[in-house]
Symmetry: C2
Subunit: 370 residues, 2 copies
């Protein structure tokens, strides 16, 4: 397996990853503490999709003692948004709503341009705009959500990024990210820019705040480095709460990626496209023939359709359990399971696409005013 | 000898440097072509202080065919301005005036912070302001001179710098600047920011312009790299016209540096400080005793006072020749030579300090409006 901020390959052994990265599993004690404020537990928490953290206990302590807490997450534009992205952002939106927190949403519009040989600057800029509209349509609070765009807000960010950069040597990024002498110098510098939103709100509010970063586990190497540096600049280490990688349609390996359009369901897909992609590509845990399936049953653990329902599309625990058990027993066929998912996704996309049409005129409210 | 943008050490063999760097000596043909526009020849040209170039002929051709030319120079703030800086800027001011050109004056206020372990960001910011006032007082045209400050103008510059950075690998900056794995990632990225003013005016004016960079020869490694990259981004290679390093008071080695206050005369020095520094520290080409000096004569080539007169403070060729010959013959004593320089410097500083007091209210005119 390979897990870096730019590549996720192979079947991920999460127990091994937890040890390697040095993150903590979320446990019932933390769930109870969180529930004091959120009342309910998001299904992504109870089902172990959001599964590890760093210093969440410290972040909650600061929250409890005076709301000295803000959220920070991000999106590096390089292609269209797919449903794999939505899971984590829906969780982030839920956290923002339940804890009533400011959310800083970074758009590092130079990142993928620097890391992908063939991505042009213009293409990244096109997707910057497209992605912002999709994210607005997910329902973040316009009064408490601040978009910061690396190139547009560079007059605010670059001076802070160089303070971070002075504390990071090339050796450190080599070992953290697997860079080498052939890496371009923009990519080498980049992690400094990703560190900035973890303390920029402390500068803007002139108050030492704690940052909680909801993010996919593949981004952990950035923030591990950020956690080493920030105390040297007089800020708290950022805390984090992290989710698993959402598998591509073809199977529970790697993560869903925008550049492989067969493996991803985009937020702009039509009902027909969704139906076709799920039926054609979604990896099945079922048996080769109906007879065999009825007899032996399917395996929900490797079935992508079931995994999507579990991660996001079937929030009702009882309904999910019934689907699980029926599929495992052979009562529910693969085609029927896929149809459940297709209906759920198409309902979600219909509503999303309506909200997105109205998002354009909200854009200005979301972009942070320097 | 060692000549990099951050360190100049030892006695500089300029013939060797010309070969190593691959720059061209200025010759009479270029002087004649330049004189068609400037009418006179600046003493720094005729005396060989401004001594090498890259593509100056191409820059003049573009100038002649439609003024598609602008100037770019810079100052990285880390300490007070000393007279060693003034020589090159006076030449730059002269070029701007005679050719009636726009001048982009970059203040990379992050550079020295990134390259000097002990320089704080706040100190660099303090000198940024101080240095801008001194540069204004040198008499640049406020209507045609644009200050761009890396951190303040980052929203304009960073997006362009990443396009440069994508074309430069760590290997390239390692060999160009002698960086290594212990170098911080901000310093590694920095050369991309220094490249930006060489093409930013082409973007702002929406017209492909040629950039001519008057600069000290120690900065050549930056612009050699810039010249390799810019054509790949659709711009012309920047041309340059370069001057020698101004020696410190203690002798004709290295360059005058702000952090050694005994070795430099600052623009804020009083007449008494100037007198004391020259008399006490200026390396003399004279003999040990008056008797011996009268008999053997002095050596103007290694005498720092004579070199300062030659570089800047005695523009009159005939007067300079008389000083040279009298010193060489032993007629002019070291104390007398030093007194000539002291008077010249103090006259210059008196006028400069008066202009500088009025510079503060000019500042806003010089800073480029984004």
């Amino acid at each position: 397996m390979k897990v870096t901020p730019w590549e996720v390959e192979g079947s991920i052994d999460y127990d091994k990853l937890i040890k390697e990265f040095g993150v903590q599993r979320l446990d019932n004690k933390l769930f109870e503490r969180l529930k004091k404020h959120t009342k309910t537990l998001h299904p992504m928490l109870s089902r172990g999709i959001v599964f590890v953290h760093r210093d969440l206990d410290f972040a909650l302590k600061e929250y409890e003692s005076g709301k000295n807490l803000f959220l920070y997450t991000g999106r590096s534009p390089s292609g269209p948004i797919h449903i794999g992205h939505v899971f984590g952002w829906e969780f982030t939106r839920w956290l923002q709503e339940k804890l009533d927190l400011e959310l800083w949403f970074q758009f590092p519009d130079e990142e993928k341009f620097l890391f992908k040989e063939n991505l042009s600057y213009e293409t990244a800029q096109k997707y910057l705009k497209e992605n912002m509209l999709d994210i607005i349509a997910l329902g973040f609070n316009p009064k408490k959500t601040h978009f910061i765009i690396d190139t547009k807000h560079a007059s605010l960010m670059y001076s802070e990024a160089v303070k971070v950069a002075k504390k990071i040597t090339f050796s450190m990024v080599k070992s953290s990210f697997g860079l080498n002498d052939s890496t371009n110098i923009g990519a080498i510098f980049y992690t400094s820019m990703q560190a900035v939103p973890a303390f920029l709100p402390s500068i803007i509010n002139n108050k030492k705040l704690v940052c909680l970063i909801p993010h996919g586990v593949d981004q952990d190497p950035h923030f591990r480095l950020t956690r080493d540096i920030l105390p040297k600049l007089g800020y708290y280490k950022p805390a984090s709460i992290q989710w698993m990688m959402i598998p591509p349609l073809q199977g529970v390996q790697g993560k869903m990626q925008s550049h492989n359009s067969d493996a991803a369901i985009f937020l702009s897909d039509t009902p027909e496209q969704v139906k076709k992609k799920i039926n054609k590509y979604a990896f099945s845990g079922g048996q080769a023939t109906i007879e065999e399936h009825r007899k032996k049953g399917g395996n929900p653990e490797i079935d992508v359709s079931y995994q999507y329902l579990k991660a996001f599309f079937e929030p009702d625990n009882e309904k999910l359990k019934k689907i699980h058990d029926d599929y495992k027993s052979g009562k529910l066929l693969t085609g029927e399971l896929k149809q459940i998912l297709i209906d759920k996704i198409n309902k979600f996309l219909k509503e999303h696409q309506e909200r997105r049409r109205k998002a354009e005129k909200e854009l200005d409210k979301f972009i942070f005013k320097m």
